[in-house]
């Protein structure tokens, strides 16, 4: 067995991915099925001088993370549905103020307390539109334990590069599942760093190319003395009620992600080239889907699998390109139909899109997806 191979849980892999990316600050509030991340952070962070704190609620957790990030530290919190809902206001703050922060949301059954220990994928739209107003986020969905490591690492890369909140959208099964994982050699990690100014002279905290530029971020406490506010602000950081300032700010923030959709897209494909029926899915639903697709192929049916790792921004072009040969697209997801809406929008009538929702709190069985495939052919 390779030296770095280990049997580990999704939540553990996620924590290790964060630490590999340079995590220095974790604030959280216990909630199933994410709690192991907080527990592991409380144990690991002090070993290397990082900071852990258990806050009084999730509102405080995301707030503390944003505060820490402003001092230049890489910060993360982890939660599940109810806590993710509580965080929304300050996720909007991080989005508008352009504060890098990583939020792990291990999805469970909702709404409300729902079925706390059952898997679900019902937060696709909350991840995108949970906070008020137009804004951008990035959301990544791991499909196995190794990806919990990889995508959490990537979440920090994106958070630092684009100065946006990045959401790791896991689910109860992926996060509690144990798999053998071979981790990369730690010396191979390049710790992501945000672009910082070099001198306070003439520093404009929000000065950037209007076409989606990312401003330089000065850490607090180093003489820049800048103002960070959730009010709309001009390049100098001063609050502004001017129509032109608002318009330019919201457009820049939108373009910042929109123009990088292709750089951000990430997926797993199998047998898509010549497929007649494609299955588009993510997270633990995609595990069952893949096995159904393989069975269909063995039986001579031209089925294909596209598993999205980047959910937001939605990879419209990739979906169209990869599904070019498909006449039908099945979208299995553990909700009543969220991702399917985006697939439909992206496909724009070029193929028939079939919704396959499940809200029993149980995983898809490959047979269920296989049956849907058979019916589609």
């Amino acid at each position: 067995m390779p030296k770095n191979a280990k049997l580990m849980q999704g939540n553990e892999a996620c924590t290790m991915g964060a630490i590999a990316a340079g995590l220095q600050f974790f604030a959280g509030y216990p909630i199933t099925p994410s709690t192991e991340i907080a527990e592991m952070c409380s144990e690991e962070l002090p070993k290397f001088g990082g900071k852990f704190i258990q806050m009084e609620d999730e509102i405080g957790s995301i707030a503390a993370c944003i505060g820490a990030s402003l001092t230049g530290k890489k910060a993360m919190t982890a939660t599940s549905g109810p806590g993710f809902s509580l965080m929304q206001e300050s996720i909007g703050y991080a989005s508008l103020c352009e504060i890098p922060v990583v939020i792990v949301n291990v999805q469970r059954m909702g709404p409300s307390t729902g079925m706390p220990t059952s898997p679900a994928q019902g937060d696709i739209m909350q991840a995108r539109w949970g906070t008020h107003g137009d804004h951008q986020v990035i959301a990544l969905a791991p499909g196995n334990v190794k990806e919990c490591f990889e995508l959490t690492f990537k979440a920090f890369v994106y958070a630092e590069a684009y100065r946006v909140p990045v959401i790791v959208l896991a689910d109860e099964v992926i996060s509690h599942m144990r798999e053998k994982v071979v981790l990369p050699d730690p010396s191979s990690y390049k710790i992501p760093m945000r672009a910082m100014p070099t001198s306070p002279a003439g520093y404009k905290p929000y000065g950037a190319d209007p076409d989606g530029g990312v401003p330089l971020m000065a850490p607090f406490g180093q003489g820049y003395r800048w103002h960070c506010t959730g009010l709309f602000h001009d390049e100098s950081g001063a609050p502004s009620g001017k129509a032109a300032v608002a318009d330019q700010l919201l457009h820049r923030l939108d373009r910042k992600i929109e123009k990088n959709v292709q750089a951000l897209e990430d997926y797993y494909v199998e047998s898509m080239d010549d497929c007649d029926v494609a299955v588009v899915s993510f997270g633990s639903s995609a595990m069952a889907a893949l096995s159904a697709v393989r069975r269909a192929r063995k039986g001579g049916l031209k089925a294909g699998m596209l598993r999205l790792k980047t959910i937001w921004p939605f990879p419209d072009q990739a979906i169209r390109r990869l599904c070019a040969s498909a006449k039908k697209i099945i979208v299995p997801e553990m909700n009543l139909g969220q991702l399917v809406l985006e697939v439909e929008r992206a496909i724009h009538g070029k193929a028939e899109v079939i919704k396959l929702g499940k809200v029993t709190g149980e995983l898809f069985h490959p047979d269920e997806i296989y049956k849907a495939l058979k019916e589609a052919f």
Binding site: M16, I19, G22, L23, Q24, F25, A27, E44, L45, P46, K47, F48, G49, G50, K51, I53, M55, E56, D57, I59, G60, S61, A63, A64, C65, I66, G67, A68, S69, L70, T71, G72, K73, K74, A75, E89, S90, Y93, P186, I191, M193, P219, F220, G221, Q222, G223, Y224, R225, W226, H227, C228, T229, G230, L231, A238, P239
Partner: protein
């Protein structure tokens, strides 16, 4: 003192406050205390929530963080915990701190984290135009208490003390010298320090309650208070309904960041050969 306006972002003035508002007086007292202590401007982070009072930080020439309603102390906790060498000051209102943010307030006090919190208590939600707040006295009027406030108010200082704050004081925008002096002491205390500044919102609280203009309202506030030293010699009937001003509580208690640092040092001795993580991560962003 150094030129008073040197502590301000002059280009951001004039401020939004109404004529006669007390928030400027409290802000002035804070600046004078900072100046007196000769604190390094570059090592101060001012954090606020949402409200007229919370707008103060935008005018001040420090690293300033104007956050979401009620969450200033939680953001400040992140700043301080991540970088304990910074001086972290929270400027907040009665609504921001004791209503929507009450939970963060008591828990920060319980942790005794080294944050100085200045509460500008005008007994109303000024920014949303005069609704009753957790500190509106019983029976007084607000736009959502048109028949007189049914609820009873918090004693903010008692709340802070009971929750674990290690420095608690109260003054008013009338007693400016006292206020400045108390803020100075609060800034010197290593732990969670609270200075409640009773202040006036003539536009909503004063007008709704027909107290008069800013001057009458200031006198009304002054008359609600008794200095804690003078109070010691007064009979109970003279103290009924009065709020004590002055230094109300001071205690030596372990401070959160210091205790965390001690724990970290102990952990690091145990795991001295630890290869994971990113040792020295304190440095990789500075």
């Amino acid at each position: 003192m150094a030129e008073f306006l040197d502590y301000f972002r002059k280009e951001r003035l004039p401020h939004i406050w109404c004529p006669g508002c007390g928030h400027g007086t409290v802000t002035g007292a804070l600046i004078r205390a900072i100046d007196k202590l000769g604190l390094d401007k570059n090592k101060i982070v001012m954090v606020s929530g949402i409200g007229c009072s919370s707008r103060a930080v935008g005018y001040l020439d420090f690293d300033t963080l104007h956050t979401t309603h009620g969450r200033a102390i939680a953001f400040a906790t992140g700043v301080k915990h991540a970088k304990p060498s910074l001086k972290v000051i929270v400027m907040t209102g009665d609504g921001d701190c004791t209503a929507i943010g009450g939970n963060h307030f008591i828990h920060a006090a319980r942790r005794n984290i080294d944050i100085t919190t200045i509460i500008m208590n005008n007994s109303t939600y000024g920014m949303t135009s005069g609704q009753y707040s957790p500190t509106t006295p019983h029976g007084m009027l607000g736009t959502t208490a048109p028949y007189g406030n049914v609820e009873h108010e918090f004693d903010v200082c008692e709340l802070a003390k009971a929750s674990g704050a290690s420095y608690v004081a109260r003054a008013t925008s009338f007693h400016v010298t006292l206020l400045t002096d108390l803020i100075e002491k609060a800034l010197m205390n290593k732990g969670f320090s609270v200075v409640e500044a009773l202040t006036q919102c003539p536009t909503y609280f004063g007008r709704k309650n027909k107290i008069g203009g800013p001057v009458e309202l200031l006198n009304w506030i002054k008359d609600r208070t008794v200095n804690v030293k003078a109070a010691a010699a007064l009979p109970p009937e003279k103290l009924a309904g009065k709020l004590l001003i002055g230094e109300l509580y001071k205690a030596e208690r372990p401070e959160y960041c210091a205790t965390y640092a001690e724990t970290t040092a102990r952990v690091q001795r145990t795991y001295n050969d630890y290869k994971g993580g990113n040792r020295g991560c304190e440095l990789n962003s500075d």
